[in-house]
């Protein structure tokens, strides 16, 4: 009887194990395909030259710069607002209807589909605020999309700061704001940065929100300012793969661009993951 039960356990556990490793396999397969077909496209030229010959040759520099510019606007808008929201929710707010409402807003904002952010950005930033298609409009759209991630991460970081820190500071006569600014925030800082990197990596890889707000098919020059429209890595992949003039002939460029994008996104994620695990160890000791 017990043998049977243990056998059932063995079977079930193996199934669970297999399920877990299917994820690993999926990731490995995707990365393998992108890596094995993309690495040949990567060269110093590819990274430092603009596309040439109707985007069938040359590099992706404008896309890298464009993605960087979009991320810059994103973080400039999302980080201050996100951290401030988290500070309010975690340090000042008293549980009640207002807080519940704010949280509901954040949760739902997190659930809004990316293309809907794009629609909103188009209607609001590009048309009503007359920003046109620009890195600014695209970055703002991405910023709002990233906000819930940053708020969540910052809150978690603030929560992990021991209550005794605050009490000690308050007991020394500091006001609440002084306590937050001088004691709580520095302690929570690594956690906030980790979360922000994660949020930013998501923004860097998004396509739908910037399709109509920030990114364009092709610009011959690097963007001069955030009021210019930009090329962006994810949109470039989409364009080359579906709307290019020579789709089969530019496969290596598509794989190459995809490789650069996932290297960027994974790089940011790994940094965050490593930072976080170091942080956890620190907390434990």
């Amino acid at each position: 009887m017990i043998k049977q039960r243990l056998f059932a356990q063995k079977v079930n556990f193996s199934l669970l194990k297999i399920a877990a490793w299917i994820n690993g396999a999926a990731l490995a397969i995707i990365v393998y395909f992108i890596l094995s077909r993309g690495w040949r496209a990567i060269s110093w030229e590819f990274l430092t030259k603009p596309p040439t010959d109707s985007m069938t040759a040359g590099g992706i520099l404008p896309c890298i710069v464009g993605t960087f510019l979009l991320c810059l606007v994103t973080i400039l808008i999302a980080l201050p607002i996100g951290v401030a929201s988290a500070i309010y929710l975690n340090e000042y707010a008293v549980q009640g209807r207002l807080v519940r409402l704010i949280r509901l807003g954040i949760n739902n904002l997190a659930g809004v589909p990316s293309i809907v952010f794009g629609l909103f950005g188009l209607a609001f930033f590009c048309i009503v605020l007359k920003m046109g298609v620009s890195a600014l409009a695209g970055g703002l759209t991405l910023g709002i999309m990233t906000l819930p991630v940053i708020i969540g991460a910052s809150e978690e970081a603030l929560k992990s700061v021991p209550q005794t820190y605050r009490e000690a500071s308050l007991a020394m006569g500091a006001t609440q704001w002084q306590t937050i600014y001088k004691v709580v925030l520095p302690a929570a800082f690594p956690g906030i940065i980790t979360g922000s990197i994660l949020g930013l990596s998501r923004a860097a890889g998004e396509t739908a929100p910037i399709m109509y707000t920030g990114a364009v098919f092709f610009t011959p020059d690097l963007p001069g300012s955030i009021f210019d429209e930009v090329m962006a890595l994810p949109y470039h992949i989409y364009v080359l793969a579906t709307a290019g003039t020579e789709i089969e002939q530019t496969r290596h460029l598509q794989y190459g661009t995809a490789l650069v994008l996932i290297a960027l996104v994974f790089g940011m994620n790994l940094t965050a993951i490593i930072l976080r695990s170091r942080l956890r160890k620190k907390v434990r000791t």
Binding site: I2, R5, Q9, F13, L15, L16, K17, A20, N23, A26, I30, I34, I81, A84, S85, I87, Y88, L89, E91, Y92, A93, L104, G105, I106, N107, N108, L109, G111, V112, P113, S114, I115, V116, L119, F120, A123, F124, I127, I144, P148, T175, Q176, S201, A204, G205, T207, M211, P234, I237, Y238, A241, T242, A258, L261, I262, V265, M268, N269, L270, S277
Partner: protein, 295 residues
């Protein structure tokens, strides 16, 4: 000015900033509705939602989004059939069975899967999976509902997995120990005690995962085939809601009927995900476990 006054001032500033999320959400709703509602001057809500034909640029045009809604719903359900078991099983494995060292490897894998840009997954579906499916099942086209669902599933798994894992992890140890003490195996404990105890969390996870899948754009734009038809098989090409918006927005003249119709699709999509989120929120608050007593 006294320090306390400054402090009060600072607090109100933070409150104002914290209200930004709500403001942003309301602005999104306002603009979606503002730009979406004018389409109902030309077509009734009923014809819009239940109409079978989507020919937005014909004269006269047909604005029926039923094929698009069904496309979205089918793709999401099919993705769910793959992602829900996979996500929950992975979560159980991580929270209950895996040794800390294995978990340390598997967790980042799931996180990296979550961070994989959607356009890359769509690209992969289009370039690698489509020809593969075409050969494997001997079907005319590889860009179809099944392909898109498969790709979407891998985008939903991380959401389902991480939220379920939190839920399973937060089941009080006392419950587990009680079950062991009664002679149950670990397997039986998981099935009879841990899963029921974390069910509300798992439900939230599933709903949020599906909500992510239904709103995902690039994958369905690139891998679903883009045919606005009422699907009859899982190998039919479909055109889910987000794909329609993304594919057509560039070409819909500002202020035209088509433009408003696409915003109205945005409204429908928003309502779907908003509904999912409200349900998830309700479940997680209503059935939140506070210690053993609440079980």
């Amino acid at each position: 000015m006294r320090r306390q006054d400054i402090d009060k001032g600072v607090q109100s500033v933070f409150l104002l900033v914290a209200l930004f999320s709500i403001t942003a959400l309301s602005l999104i709703m306002v603009f979606l509705f503002l730009e979406g509602i004018p389409i109902f001057e030309t077509v009734s809500v009923k014809d819009f939602v239940f109409g079978k034909y989507w020919y937005p640029t014909d004269e006269p045009a047909d604005f029926g989004i039923m094929p698009l809604i069904l496309g979205s719903v089918y793709v999401t359900l099919l993705a769910g059939m793959i992602a829900i078991p996979l996500g929950i099983m992975t979560a159980i494995y991580l929270a209950e069975i895996a040794s800390p060292r294995v978990a340390e490897i598997v967790k980042p894998i799931v996180e990296l899967l979550a961070s994989m840009p959607s356009v890359v997954i769509g690209f992969f579906g289009m370039v690698v999976v489509a020809p593969f499916l075409q050969k494997l099942f001997d079907i005319p086209v590889g860009l179809n509902m099944f392909n898109a669902s498969l790709m979407l599933a891998f985008m939903a798994v991380p959401t389902i997995c991480s939220i379920s894992e939190d839920a399973i992890f937060s089941v009080p140890t006392a419950l587990k120990e009680a079950s062991f003490a009664l002679g149950a195996t670990h397997n039986e404990t998981i099935i009879r005690v841990i899963i029921p105890a974390s069910l509300s969390g798992i439900c939230t996870a599933v709903i949020l995962g599906l909500s992510r899948a239904i709103g995902e754009t690039m994958v369905v734009l690139m891998a679903a085939g883009g045919a606005a038809m009422l699907p009859t098989s899982i190998f039919d090409p479909v055109r889910p809601l987000p794909a329609s918006i993304a594919a057509e927005m560039a070409e819909a003249p500002f202020g035209s009927e088509h433009y408003h119709a696409l915003f109205a699709i945005g409204v429908v999509l928003f309502v779907f995900t908003f509904g999912f989120n409200l349900i998830a929120d309700y479940i997680s608050h209503k059935f939140r476990q506070v210690g053993e007593a609440s079980l």
